[in-house]
């Protein structure tokens, strides 16, 4: 969500115009983050609709024969790790706001590790599911959820990692202690990006809980 810069040939700008553009960029990151969540909600809602539609139809009594379920331990592990990552990211952002950049970075990198382990577990789970993809409606929607969740975890972890990498590079480039906290344009854009990314991680954890309940508990 930092794709707002357009570094083309230099032009003449007043300070007011520069500030106006910057506010537009920050606003775009803010509203872009919310639009992205809206978009993702409809994607996940499509999956949820499929789940409940096939469950209600229960064609050929093949919604979930013998009440077979995907490995619950994997489900809890994957969701637990994404929850931990989300909590760390939220905690980190609070620390960043109060000026503790190092805390944010440490929390963020642990979050990246959690995201990557969750991603690996989600992929590895394919080797442990006790059904074939097309054996039932449940099996099909579960595979669909797994594929979407792989994309979600990879995307969210990518967003977190790139934000952290930017933080380190800003430090190297500026040579100052906490460039993330300055009033410079890059820092303000950076903080807006952190806020949107944090919001998305919260969304990942909440939506993950709903699908955990649907696929492993119900």
């Amino acid at each position: 969500m930092t794709d707002t810069s357009r570094n083309q040939k230099p032009m003449s700008e007043t300070p007011e115009e520069i500030e106006y553009e910057l506010r537009g960029q920050i606003g775009s990151i803010w509203s872009g983050g919310r639009l992205f969540i809206g978009m993702y909600t409809f994607l996940l809602a499509s999956l949820a609709f499929s789940y409940f539609y096939l469950r209600a139809a229960n064609n050929g009594l093949l919604w979930r024969p013998h009440n077979i379920t995907a490995p619950t331990a994997y489900g809890w592990t994957i969701w637990g790790l994404s929850l931990v990552a989300a909590v760390l990211v939220i905690f980190g952002q609070r620390r960043l706001r109060s000026g503790n950049v190092l805390d944010w970075q440490v929390a963020g990198w642990v979050g990246v590790a959690c995201g990557l382990v969750a991603l690996a577990a989600q992929i590895w789970e394919f080797t442990a599911v006790p059904f074939y993809p097309g054996s039932s409606g449940y099996a099909s929607t579960f595979i669909g959820w797994s594929v979407i969740n792989i994309g979600t975890l990879a995307g969210a972890t990518y967003w977190l990692e790139t934000t952290l990498a930017r933080s380190h590079r800003m430090r190297r480039e500026s040579g100052t202690a906490s460039p993330e906290l300055s009033s410079a344009a890059t820092a303000r854009l950076f903080r807006a990006n952190v806020a949107s990314m944090t919001y998305f991680w919260g969304f990942v954890a909440v939506s993950g809980a709903l699908f955990l309940a649907m696929f492993y508990l119900l």
Partner: protein, 654 residues
């Protein structure tokens, strides 16, 4: 905050030492053969295709072969996916996302001059807009040729040009190509080019996402066209299961093609919505936003929220074909109805994704050529929002005859009829603007007027179709076919042409030839109606869609329709001839504001500078105060310190 009144300027350029031409620019972005452009994208796509095919065969050797085809569906799907990834890598769309992994910010973009910039990944919304013009015309031309093939086959019920299988492949490819094109035909070229200019912005919110939306749109064209060498698909553009499940390898191209185009649609909608929300010039309150921008915003909202469902539906279909899930396979616990529901949950909002920008263009053009304020501006904007909202609640009317619970029919009949109310608002706004007007019948206005005529027929027949009893009689036949051609082609395509004739002088600096434009309009209008109106009768007499033969007594009507269709195709040749003539053979320089429009987009310099406006304008009123004595100036353009003010005559006066 003072933005465009007298103010000191700080030149960013002068505050630093003069940069070298390629300072901070990676070699991949520098002009020249070694840089990234469409050529490298094609090479990378071919390599990606080969790699994906090999990978699929390697990973799933001996597993899911498509019955009677000798092909491995996983290999086919992976080949197309890696071809798209290769295409994006080759064009440079993934440079920045990859550089971000190590914390790098965007490279400086070099401004490539000349025609080669149109073959590159560029961040200038105006270049992207023109790229889209060519892109959608490519779709339109291909889909049009397929339509000619369909009408050729229907010249006779007994003498056949194609076999039944080939015929349905042509019909399916025609429908899919046209629907994909139609989702972007206005938002892509005209939305991307003109929204920033109309809201007084110097830029798009997410320029890389905007460029991505175009290049993946072109990749989608390649993917959907790959269905033909794979043997096509027999389902029509709607891709219904269970036929989808039984279809050959071409079906994967359909499913992936829609998913890929869906990504582009989401990206385009996301970027334009964020731009309109955040980059409106100071003073451009929501009640001053041009009506075309309202239409594009409503469309962007639909694209952002409805398209993920299409993406999910396509993904599930690909999973059914490759890893053998059973989303749409009733015998294995899935349901073919699931596809129908997901598809139409996207598909009906898509109708308005196509219609709303057309309404926006017409409403934008009418005041210019009637020299009257837009009648009931707020009603028009509310109508667009109303249509966008209600479009999510009507999808089941496509399933009236599918065996759904009959108790559901009245509800969806009601919601469908309800949506005709806000649509009627927009129609009446147009009529109110035309009332007692002294109309200038320029070419854009002719096309705009035709939209009302065509859409009235398309809309009224739509109300018939929403009635269950009528629907029972005419569904699946030529009546439905004619109805949606009247709304989509008669509404959207005519509106696109209106917009193109209206705005091309701004986009290219050249006027389209008026005489040829009039010939184009009259041939297109007359032969469009002569092609599609008889189809209502053909449909009422019982001819079904997608069948290559028909009852002998319908031949005369079909022949009449076919010959009219060929002449309709000829009208597009007039358009292309006009385009070539006016742009290249005998170009005539366009005046700065050829239609005397009050629109902000006409107040910038010609050609439009890279940053659109020398100073960010301050908006003082809406752009529809035509012929009003003492109307306030539209905007303070802030040029030269004292500020240019645009009067209600459309002229800039200092």
């Amino acid at each position: 905050m003072t933005i465009s009144a007298e103010r000191p300027t700080k030149s960013v350029a002068s505050s630093t030492s003069p940069p070298s031409p390629h300072q901070g620019v990676s070699w991949t972005q520098r002009p020249g053969w070694l840089s990234q452009h469409m050529g490298t994208a094609i090479i990378a796509a071919v390599l990606g295709y080969a790699f994906g095919h090999w990978l699929g065969n390697y990973v799933t050797s001996g597993y899911p072969y498509i019955a009677n085809s000798g092909q491995n569906s996983s290999a086919n799907a992976l080949a197309l996916i890696f071809a798209v990834v290769g295409w994006l890598l080759g064009i440079g769309a993934l440079n920045y996302p990859l550089a971000k992994l190590v914390g790098k910010e965007a490279d400086h973009e070099t401004s490539v001059e000349g025609w080669s910039k149109y073959f590159r990944y560029t961040l200038d919304h105006k270049v992207v807009g023109l790229q889209y013009v060519v892109g959608v015309l490519l779709f339109l031309f291909t889909g049009g040729l397929l339509a000619m093939a369909i009408r050729t086959e229907l010249l006779s019920p007994t003498t056949h040009v194609f076999g039944p299988g080939t015929y349905i492949e042509i019909v399916s490819e025609h429908g899919t190509i046209m629907m994909m094109m139609a989702t972007s035909i206005i938002l892509g070229p005209l939305g991307n080019y003109f929204v920033p200019l109309m809201i007084g912005s110097r830029r798009m919110a997410f320029p890389r996402i905007e460029a991505f939306s175009f290049w993946i749109f072109i990749a989608g064209y390649g993917v959907i066209f790959s269905a033909l060498p794979y043997g096509g698909f027999p389902t029509g553009w709607t891709g219904y299961a269970p036929l989808q499940t039984q279809a050959g390898p071409g079906m994967i191209s359909y499913l992936l093609g829609f998913a890929v185009i869906g990504l582009g649609m989401m990206a385009a909608g996301f970027n334009i919505a964020a731009t309109i929300i955040n980059f409106r010039a100071p003073g451009m309150t929501w009640s001053r936003v041009p009506i075309f921008v309202w239409a594009i915003l409503s469309t962007a909202a639909l694209l952002t929220l409805a398209t993920p469902t299409l993406f999910a539906a396509g993904l599930f279909g690909v999973l059914d074909k490759t890893v053998q899930t059973a989303f749409y396979v009733t015998e294995h616990g899935g349901s073919s109805y699931l596809w129908e529901n997901l598809f139409w949950f996207f598909g009906h909002p898509e109708v308005y994704i196509m219609a709303l920008p057309g309404f926006g263009i017409v409403a934008e053009i009418l005041p210019v050529f009637t020299r009257k304020p837009l009648f009931a501006y707020k009603v028009a904007a509310a109508g667009m929002i109303g249509v966008a909202l209600l479009s999510f609640f009507v999808w089941q009317h496509h399933l009236f005859q599918s065996g759904i619970n009959p108790d559901m029919r009245p509800l969806f009949m009601l919601t469908t009829e309800l949506i005709s109310i806000p649509t009627g608002f927009i129609f009446l706004v147009g009529m109110g603007t035309l009332y007692k007007a002294k109309i200038r019948f320029e070419v854009p206005m002719l096309f705009a007027m035709a939209v009302f005529f065509n859409f009235l027929i398309g809309g009224v027949t739509g109300v018939f179709l929403s009635d269950v009893p009528v629907n029972v009689t005419v569904h699946g036949g030529f009546f439905v076919l004619s109805h949606f051609h009247y709304t989509i082609m008669g509404g959207l395509l005519f509106a696109f042409m209106a917009g193109l004739y209206y705005w091309l002088p701004k986009m290219t600096g050249r006027m389209m030839n008026k005489k040829l434009g009039q010939w184009h309009f009259w041939t297109m209008f007359v032969f469009f109606n002569l092609t599609f109106f008889p189809m209502f009768i053909i449909g009422l007499l019982g001819q079904p869609r997608r069948v290559f033969t028909y009852a002998k007594n319908l031949q005369m009507l079909n022949d009449f329709s076919s010959i009219s269709a060929f002449l309709l195709g000829f009208s597009f040749l007039i358009f292309f001839a006009n385009l070539m003539w006016s742009m290249y053979i005998k170009p005539v320089k366009a005046p700065a504001n050829p239609w005397d429009s009050l629109g902000l987009e006409w107040q910038t310099a010609n050609p439009v500078p890279v940053y659109n406006f020398e100073r960010i304008p301050v908006i003082m009123t809406d752009p529809y105060h035509y012929s009003e004595v003492g109307a306030p100036a539209l905007a303070d353009l802030g040029v030269g310190g004292s500020g240019d003010r645009v009067s209600s005559s459309g002229k800039s006066d200092k």
